[in-house]
Symmetry: D2
Subunit: 146 residues, 4 copies
């Protein structure tokens, strides 16, 4: 199943408007109904004190991957807003490219539940981090007054 | 109770060595036994698509505040490593300065449990985000091979 | 601030209708706007394999305390439904009575965020478990079709 | 891959010693390396106020499924202890039998990360609840003094 072109354009425009994604140098690698993949290249600007990529940067692209995955299943006047998420860090984040995938497990009228999984390139079977997130469905211009 | 000078120096050096904190322009505002406060000034480089500060940036400084709070209670050869955290977003993140506080609720031999709370400046009674985090106690040079 | 009598009656009737609370022998010890306290007496019927109270039983009364705390702030045609929660276990659950408290941190139009804390009797400063929960506001007769 | 007989016996004895599992009428349906499945038959003794199975009962068997899944990968002197978990409720829990599955995603020296999934019988593609749990590895007779 492929994504409607207008929805995909809206997702990509929304991503491009995020100052933090420009700062990170992250980009959308894939969008499909209920799914999103975001890539984050390693760089000194996203490191923690041992020189590895910061857990916060990994969490940020996982949150975005989950939010955009939810967005793909919403109407033209709706947007996903993160209510909450939980993330586990499983292994050291070693690598030159990090891949975050979000996948919707339940698309409800007001709430979507999304799983996220992150791994370093060529390490698909060894996830670095797992996320379980709750997104609310809000009308496009409304900002978290739920 | 005040913090031992050597421990405080170690915490501040560790923070200063984080590339992502330089990128964000965040700094440690306070350190005390079991507690840490980190400030993040607003800027276009940390925004999401509506121009508000990105949930990922808020999460990152909350994670750091919780990790450093845990670190203050550890020995000279130990360091806190984030096992996992959960964060709820309660309100839109409006403001020019964001304040993240971590507070240890349980310091165990191998695991610390830490609460985090974030609010915009002058909005102490209206938290933007709440975190509940689990940190492992690792020997200083060991990197998440638990 | 005290709770409206009709709301309190509705909460207590709802609790009394829970088969699992009868099975546990738990009861509501306190209700106030945005707050709820539930007591669970120890017994062999709620133990894990070492003879301590089961983490699942503690989680259950924490969930109930958080849900009822949220309910106290809702209208006569609304009810709280658990979207999700996270719970940390901090210490062994030793004691003859367990006290779970829920406290609303954010009451929104569609979502409430609630903190829960559990301790054994006479151990108020040594929490056994901490919860951070998200409750949805649903009209009274609607059952999770959000 | 099948489970070592001595380990399986230890798991089943541990489960049988849980008073709460007797109270619930739950049983282990399957054990394999890194995996566990637990069944909970519906009954009035595990209901919430609308007559559906209580979220706390579902959470309890998910926690057990995750803990036992972790236990299958531990040594004869080790046991899994729940550090924390997060659970999302996706749909109303309608049915006469509930099936909880735990699956280890990362088995470390001191911490295991486990995913749990619960559905009503014949509803495998429509999960009722999802869990993401952190288990610590403790020596068999030590009770949460981590």
């Amino acid at each position: 199943m492929t994504l409607d072109g207008a929805i995909e354009k809206r997702m990509r425009d929304s991503f491009a408007a995020q100052g933090l994604m420009k700062t990170f140098g992250a980009h959308i690698a894939r969008l499909a109904p209920g799914e999103c993949e975001i890539h984050l290249p390693f760089g000194a600007h996203v490191t923690q004190h041992h020189g590895f990529v910061h857990a916060g940067a990994l969490t940020t692209i996982l949150d975005n991957a989950c939010g955009l995955a939810a967005n793909t299943l919403m109407g033209p006047d709706e947007a996903a807003l993160t209510i909450e998420f939980k993330v586990n860090f499983l292994r050291p984040a070693r690598g030159s490219l990090f891949i975050a995938r979000g996948r919707v497990r339940r698309a409800g009228k007001t709430v979507h539940v999304v799983e996220g999984e992150l791994h370093a390139e060529h390490e698909e079977d060894r996830p670095t981090a797992l996320m379980l997130a709750t997104m609310s469905v809000v009308s496009g211009l409304t900002l978290r007054d739920s």
